[in-house]
C-alpha cells in the first residue's frame, strides 16, 4: 500500500530515508517545471531541483505539520531558483540570454509538440512560441508571480507567503506583469476572438 503524504513526511522526520523517494517521485515534475521557468536553463534547473530535494531531506524537521507541504516545497524551490538566477547573473552575465533561451526551448515540450505534430498549424506553433517567449521575457519578479498565479494556480496569499512579501505587492506585480504581457502580445490580443 502506498504511504500517504502525511505518513511519508512523518517517516522522513523520524529518519526514514526511504520516505524521500516517493516524495521526489510525486513532486519532481512540479519542482523541475518551476525551476526551469524561473532559471530558463536546464542545467540550472537540474541543480535547483537537487538542492531543493536535498534541503527537503535535511530540513524536513523544520516543516510545520499544520502547513501544506506543497506550499513549503514551492517556497524552497522558488527561493533556490531565485538565488540561483541571482548568482548566475553575477557570474556569467554576458552569455546568459543566448544560452538560456536556446536551452529552454530544447528542454520544453514546445519543441517536441511541434516535432511530433507535423500537421499542427504553423500559426498556432508560432503563437505558442511567442506566448512562451513573452512570459520568459518578463523580469524575474514579474515572471515568478505570473508563473505561480497563472500556471501553478496559487492564491495571492500563498504567493505572498512563498516570496515573503505582502499580498499588495503580489497584486501589484501581477497587474504590471499582465499589462506587459498584453503589450508584448498585442497583435495576438487584437486578433483574438475571445
Amino acid at each position: 500500500m502506498e504511504r500517504t503524504e502525511a505518513l511519508l513526511i512523518a517517516d522522513l522526520c523520524e529518519g526514514d530515508e526511504t520516505a524521500l523517494a516517493p516524495l521526489v517521485e510525486r513532486y519532481k515534475r512540479m519542482v523541475y517545471r518551476l525551476a526551469m521557468q524561473i532559471t530558463k536553463n536546464h542545467a540550472d534547473a537540474d541543480d535547483v531541483m537537487q538542492e531543493t530535494f536535498i534541503k527537503v531531506y535535511r530540513s524536513i524537521r523544520t516543516f510545520r505539520k499544520d502547513a501544506a507541504f506543497e506550499t513549503w516545497l514551492y517556497r524552497i524551490t522558488v527561493n533556490e531558483a531565485l538565488n540561483f538566477v541571482k548568482r548566475r547573473e553575477r557570474q556569467r552575465e554576458s552569455t546568459l540570454e543566448t544560452a538560456s533561451e536556446a536551452d529552454y526551448e530544447a528542454s520544453t515540450r514546445y519543441r517536441a509538440q511541434i516535432a511530433n505534430d507535423p500537421h499542427a498549424h504553423a500559426e498556432k506553433a508560432e503563437l505558442r512560441h511567442h506566448v512562451t517567449e513573452a512570459v520568459n521575457s518578463l523580469t524575474l519578479k514579474h515572471r515568478t508571480v505570473v508563473i505561480l498565479h497563472e500556471f501553478e494556480g496559487l492564491t495571492h496569499a500563498e504567493i505572498a507567503s512563498i516570496l515573503n512579501c505582502s499580498e499588495g505587492t503580489v497584486r501589484s506585480r501581477l497587474h504590471y506583469a499582465r499589462k506587459k504581457l498584453r503589450t508584448l502580445l498585442q497583435s495576438y490580443v487584437d486578433a483574438s476572438q475571445v
Binding site: 523541475y32 517545471r33 528542454s107 515540450r109
Partner: protein, 332 residues
C-alpha cells in the same frame, strides 16, 4: 475622469480574477459601464489570460531525465551520509529497521485496530523515552543477576584479600594483643599493578572495630569500606550462624577472599555494587589442615549456595600468601 480610470485600472487584474470585495467589484462594474477605455482594458486582459492559458508551453523533461535525476539524488544523499564504516553500518541497520517498521505499520493500517494505533506516528519520542527508562531499570537487575556466576575478574576487577588474624587462648587474656593484617592484591589479569595493602588491627581506626574476646567462639564478619577493598575483621559474641566455630578453636589464621567490582565504574555506582554483600566473600581456614578440612566442610555446608566462591577461594594465588611481614609461607 482620468484619475478615476487610473484608480480603477489598478483593480482590473483582481476584477478579472474575482478577488475583489463585493463593494469594489460593484464600483468597477459601474465604472466599466460608462468607460470604454477601461472596458477595452478588461477585454484585452482577459484575452491575454486566454492566450497564456491555452498557448503557454510549460517546460517538461523526459522520463529518462527524471530517472537519472532520482539516481543522482540518491547517490548524493548517500555521499553526504557518514563515511566511517560503523556509521554506514548503523545507517544501513537504521534503514532496515525503518523498512521493517513501515511494513509492520502498513499491516496494522489494514487491520481493524489501525485507527487506534495511528497515534503511533506521534508517539515515537515516547517509545524512545520508555525504552531508555526500561533499560535503566532492567540493566542493573540483569547485571546483579549475572555477576555471581560471572568469573569475569578481568572485566570487573578482582581483589583478593588475605587476612591473618591470630587469636590466643584465654590463659593470659591481659597479655594478648590481637594481631591481624590484611593484604589486598588486585588481580594481575586486569593489567593493573598489584596494590598491596596491609593494615594492622592493633593500629589506626581498625582497632576500634575489631573486638577480640579470646573466650568467644563466635565471629561476625562485617565490611569496612576502604579505598581499594574491604576488611572483614570484627568479632562479636553469640552469632554462630556466621562463621564456622572451629575457626576459633585454636590459634587460627583465616584467608579471606572477596570479589569486588572495579571501583568507580558507572554501573558499580549505579547499582551500589561496591558494597560488599554476603554473596561475595568466602573464608577458608589455612592453618591446621585437619581442623581446616573440617572447617571447610562446615563452611561448604553453610554456604552451599555459594560454591562458586568456595572454588574461587581455593584458587587464590599463592603470591598473596607471600607477603613477608604478614605471612611466613613455611608456616603454611
Amino acid at each position: 475622469m482620468r484619475s478615476k480610470c487610473d484608480k480603477i485600472e489598478r483593480l482590473l487584474s483582481d476584477y478579472i480574477d474575482g478577488t475583489l470585495s463585493e463593494r469594489q467589484t460593484a464600483d468597477v462594474a459601474l465604472h466599466l459601464r460608462s468607460c470604454g477605455y477601461c472596458k477595452r482594458e478588461v477585454v484585452d486582459l482577459k484575452k491575454t489570460n486566454h492566450l497564456l492559458e491555452n498557448f503557454y508551453v510549460e517546460p517538461e523533461a523526459s522520463d529518462a531525465y527524471y530517472a537519472r535525476f532520482t539516481t543522482r539524488l540518491q547517490h548524493r544523499i548517500e555521499q553526504s551520509a557518514p563515511t566511517a564504516l560503523y556509521q554506514r553500518l548503523s545507517a544501513v541497520a537504521l534503514r532496515l529497521g525503518w523498512h521493517l517498521r513501515t511494513r509492520l505499520h502498513r499491516r496494522i493500517d489494514h487491520s481493524r485496530f489501525g485507527g487506534f494505533l495511528s497515534i503511533r506516528q506521534h508517539a515515537f519520542p515516547y517509545y524512545i523515552f520508555g525504552l531508555t527508562l526500561a533499560m535503566l531499570v532492567v540493566a542493573p537487575l540483569l547485571l546483579n543477576q549475572v555477576s555471581p556466576h560471572d568469573d569475569g575478574g578481568s572485566r570487573l576487577g578482582r581483589l583478593y584479600a588475605a587476612a591473618k588474624i591470630r587469636f590466643f587462648s584465654g590463659d593470659s587474656p591481659a597479655s594478648v594483643q590481637p594481631t591481624a593484617a590484611l593484604a589486598i592484591k588486585q588481580d594481575t589479569e586486569t593489567g593493573t599493578q598489584p596494590a598491596d595493602l596491609r593494615r594492622n588491627v592493633s593500629s589506626g581506626r581498625t582497632t576500634e572495630t575489631l573486638v577480640v574476646d579470646s573466650g568467644s567462639d563466635v565471629w561476625l564478619f562485617t565490611d569496612e569500606p576502604m579505598t581499594e577493598g574491604y576488611i572483614f575483621t570484627a568479632l562479636q559474641e553469640n552469632d554462630s550462624d556466621t562463621v564456622p566455630s572451629v575457626a576459633l578453636d585454636i590459634d587460627s589464621e583465616l584467608l579471606a577472599y572477596a570479589e569486588l567490582p572495579a571501583q568507580g565504574t558507572f554501573w558499580a555506582r549505579l547499582t551500589s555494587r561496591d558494597v560488599l554483600t554476603e554473596s561475595r566473600y568466602a573464608l577458608l581456614l589455612l592453618q591446621g589442615m585437619d581442623a581446616g578440612q573440617h572447617g571447610l566442610q562446615q563452611y561448604e555446608r553453610k554456604w552451599s549456595g555459594f560454591k562458586d566462591f568456595s572454588q574461587k577461594l581455593l584458587d587464590v594465588p599463592l603470591e598473596i600468601l607471600s607477603i613477608p611481614e604478614v605471612y611466613d609461607s613455611s608456616e603454611l
